[in-house]
């Protein structure tokens, strides 16, 4: 359907039956825009059920029927460019898939394609963000080891998030992404550049006009999204700062051991305790290094993803607003009596449905997203706290072993009693 000019019948565009077999679960409204009943497939009922359930259940291995890994980054060199290709491995028991295992190779651009397809099909669902195209901080180059690993993990998380989503995971584009050996032919299909352009232009026009009235719950949602975006960015910044400070601390700490060792070289009786202290400090340095790695590998990526989430949430809210605005424009035109009432009425009805579907989709997905966010951040913070406890426990053990080696009881109160 590429190259199609923007038609007045938006419903045909929205309910893209050739592309998405999942539309029966698009909303709780079981009838399509054209009035025909929606086939109540078992999977659609399960998915509707899932929308209401606590998302924590989905993390449970029992309900998870699809497992995706992204690994094996490989450099691909062509005449024009160099890029990284990842292996995407899918294992599933779902009936929609022909076999239980798929292996394909994908590059970052392919992930971008997938996400934009999902966005097009479901403009008001909250889709997990992809890692950024470029990383500005730290001057990391694209083919740096750490960068590739960080990106790889984020891509894997992205696909798993999609696979856990009750609606998105049944999107045709998702299936195609996971299974098709060649994506290029699929990329040419689907709503193309021009229709996207048209949407954008309409969006701009509508935003200039402004919304008549946003429903209360979406006003609250908007406020929350703004505030959340602020706070999570702050937490992200604070965490980055902590990592920086820790690194500088570690650099200085590393000076201790050689200094104590050098001192031991001049001493006789004192040589042994000095060398012991040197080794203690060295072990503590290693633990500090571990602590820093944990922050960078576990907490920071999650925080960063939710910073991107906040941005994508704002985009979702904007799209919802646009859908409502489009309806309002046409609805107002209806009142002017200068136009073809019947045709316009049909269009307006279609748009009204679209608004309702969009709102319901967002409302449904909102609690799903909030639970997911809470689970992810909670687990990341807990992990960080655990790591810090572990860090201090290990350092404690190091120094207590030093005291034992000096034949001192660790629990001695140094301010009284004799020294043995």
């Amino acid at each position: 359907m590429s190259g199609q000019t923007v038609s007045a019948d938006f419903s045909g565009h929205m309910l893209d039956l050739e592309e998405d077999e999942d539309l029966e679960v698009f909303s709780k409204n079981t009838s399509l825009a054209d009035g025909s009943p929606v086939p109540n497939s078992p999977s659609s009922m399960i998915n509707q059920y899932r929308l209401e359930e606590d998302t924590a259940e989905q993390q449970n291995g029992n309900t998870k029927d699809i497992f995706i890994t992204v690994d094996d980054p490989e450099s691909h060199v062509t005449a024009i460019e160099t890029f990284i290709v990842y292996r995407v491995l899918t294992k599933t028991t779902r009936s929609e898939f022909d076999t239980s295992e798929y292996e394909v190779r994908r590059r970052y651009q392919d992930f971008l394609w997938l996400r934009s397809r999902l966005e097009e099909s479901h403009p008001t669902l909250i889709i997990h963000p992809l890692p950024e195209k470029f990383v500005m901080r730290g001057m990391v180059e694209r083919f740096n080891e750490d960068f590739i690993q960080t990106r790889r993990k984020a891509l894997q998380r992205f696909l798993n998030k999609i696979s856990e989503h009750p609606i998105l995971s049944y999107c045709q584009s998702f299936k195609v992404f996971l299974t098709a050996q060649e994506l290029t032919s699929h990329k040419k299909q689907g709503a193309g550049f021009l229709s996207r352009m048209g949407e954008t232009m309409r969006a701009v026009a509508n935003s200039v006009r402004g919304l008549r009235s946003r429903p209360a719950e979406f006003i609250l949602m908007q406020e929350y999204v703004e505030a959340f975006g602020n706070k999570i960015s702050s937490v992200d910044r604070v965490t980055q700062r902590i990592i920086r400070e820790q690194r500088e601390y570690l650099d200085e700490l590393k000076q201790y051991s050689p200094t104590y060792t050098q001192w031991a070289g001049s001493e006789e009786e004192l040589a042994e305790p000095l060398k012991s202290v040197a080794s203690c400090v060295e072990r503590c340095s290693k633990e500090t290094e571990e602590r820093i790695h944990h922050l960078s590998d576990v907490l920071l990526p999650v925080l960063h993803e939710y910073v991107l989430c906040a941005e994508s949430l704002k985009a979702v809210m904007k799209r919802r607003d646009n859908i409502q605005a489009e309806f309002e424009v046409k609805n107002e035109a209806l009142a002017s009596k200068k136009v073809d009432q019947e045709a316009l009425q049909e269009e307006v009805d279609g748009l009204a449905d679209r608004v309702e579907q969009a709102n319901n989709a967002l409302k449904g997905d909102w609690s799903h997203w909030q639970n997911s966010m809470r689970t992810d951040l909670k687990s990341a913070f807990i992990s960080t706290a655990e790591k810090n406890v572990e860090y201090y426990e290990k350092c404690l053990a190091v120094w207590e072993s030093f005291l034992l080696s000096q034949k001192v009881e660790p629990s001695d109160d140094r301010n009284s009693g004799d020294v043995s």
């Binding site: 000076q255 655990e386 005291l403 000096q406």
Partner: protein, 444 residues
């Protein structure tokens, strides 16, 4: 060589005769804010009679010697009888007097000059060095004053527990006589000795046969000075960075609090976790304050290296004087021999003039011989004297050096142990805070 053998009045049954002295006069409220002096000491006659502490510090203003108004700090020295207080009895009120830092310096200079073969304990630093936190580098800063108070007390206790220094009358009067002490010190005339001694200490001279033990000691002292200075600098930088790490976590506290306001389920957990982050950030102040004490222990031995170095220099000076005297004697003997045999091997003005203006008379020759003989005799006396001085100095000094080495090994080992204990305490606090935070996150 055990020090106890040299001080017959000290009867120690147990060679492990060390006791940890604490500031027993501090109330519990005071001891929370004041640093406990846990210096390890040996008991001397003096310490058996009295307890010494530097209890307080106070700011004073007054006109100085050039009639300019200045602010300075005075320290209260308290002494009280060392007998234990009977059950239900009240401890005797201490005698006390005020001294300022310059008076301590005067005392120390007196001791340096009067006991040149003893390693005199150092005073706490005049100005704060190796500081990680610029704020406490100010002499009038309460933390600096407090640490100096502890350092001065330490100095007095070290002198009081030295077998020889503790018997010094001027030292006793320093502790007990507020007025008149200054005159008493100056009356000893140590100033004169001070000038010449100190001048010669800084002079450059080459010693041909220094005692190898002293050469080795000087080298050790230089090494120790270098490495401890370096360690103190590293410590200051580490402390600075650690401060940064802890304080940044305070930002979590602020942000979590703000964030909790917009959340429903996560709100409580975030808010309380934030409080723990604030606690974590605040905990570094006490931790680093404690660590300052460790740095002070290192600094004391850094300053000790100066005292050790000056002992080595004194040895060199005496050795040099001995060598000069011996050389002078040899020169005179040579002159005599030449005079007797008539050969001129050594240039002398007399010899030259007699060559030029003719031989001298028998009378002149004999009077010259007699003068030389006298001179040689004096020279031999001088060499004997210098030799004795040298031997005595080496023996006395080496005794004190052995005592010092033992003290140093013990003290520094103690310091390392207390450093480990500090680290353990820091770790325990960290475990507590982060376990609490984890509980809060669990409630999210």
């Amino acid at each position: 060589m055990r020090v106890e053998e040299e001080a017959p009045l000290m009867m120690m049954a147990d060679s492990e005769d060390v006791a940890v002295i604490t500031n027993t006069d501090l109330t519990s409220a005071e001891s929370e804010s004041k640093i406990i002096n846990t210096m390890v000491e040996r008991e001397t006659d003096l310490l058996r009679k009295i307890e010494i502490n530097v209890a307080e510090a106070e700011k004073r203003t007054g006109k100085n010697t050039v009639n300019i108004q200045e602010t300075y700090t005075v320290y209260l020295i308290e002494t009280r009888p060392a007998e234990s207080v009977p059950e239900g009895g009240t401890p005797a009120a201490p005698d006390s007097l005020w001294r300022r830092y310059s008076e301590f310096e005067l005392l120390r200079t007196y001791l340096l000059v009067t006991y040149p073969y003893i390693i005199i304990p150092p005073l706490p630093e005049k100005r704060a060095e190796f500081m990680w936190h610029k704020l406490s580098a100010d002499n009038l800063d309460p933390d600096f004053v407090e640490r100096r108070r502890v350092g001065l007390e330490n100095f007095l206790l070290r002198v009081a527990s030295h077998p020889i220094l503790s018997t010094d009358k001027i030292f006793f009067r320093f502790l007990t006589e507020e007025k008149g002490w200054r005159e008493a010190v100056l009356e000893t005339g140590f100033q004169d000795k001070a000038d010449s001694r100190l001048k010669s200490l800084s002079a450059m001279f080459r010693v041909k046969n220094p005692d190898t033990r002293f050469t080795a000691l000087k080298q050790y002292s230089d090494e120790l000075n270098t490495v401890v200075s370096h360690l103190l600098r590293v410590r200051a930088r580490v402390a600075d960075r650690l401060y940064g790490v802890y304080k940044v976590h305070g930002n979590y506290g602020r942000v979590f609090s703000e964030w909790s306001a917009i959340e429903k389920e996560m709100g409580d957990g975030l808010q309380s976790a934030g409080h723990h982050m604030d606690t974590y950030a605040a905990s570094i102040d006490d931790i680093l304050e404690e660590e300052e004490h460790y740095a002070d222990q290192l600094k004391e031995y850094l300053f000790y290296t100066d005292a050790v170095r000056s002992i080595c220099r004194k040895h060199e000076l005496i050795q040099y004087e001995l060598e000069m005297a011996a050389q002078d004697l040899a020169h005179k003997k040579q002159q005599k021999e030449e005079l007797v045999t008539g050969t001129v091997r050594i240039f002398s003005l007399k010899g030259m003039t007699s060559k030029l203006f003719g031989q001298e008379s028998q009378e002149q020759r004999e009077s010259r011989l007699a003068a030389l003989g006298q001179s040689i005799q004096e020279g031999e006396e001088m060499v004997k004297e210098k030799n004795k001085e040298c031997q005595e100095f080496m023996q006395a000094a080496w005794e004190d050096i052995e005592r010092f080495k033992e003290q140093k090994d013990k003290d520094l080992r103690e310091a390392l142990i207390s450093y480990a204990i500090m680290q353990i305490s820091m770790c325990k606090k960290g475990i507590q805070v982060w376990s609490n935070a984890k509980e809060c996150f669990n409630k999210m």
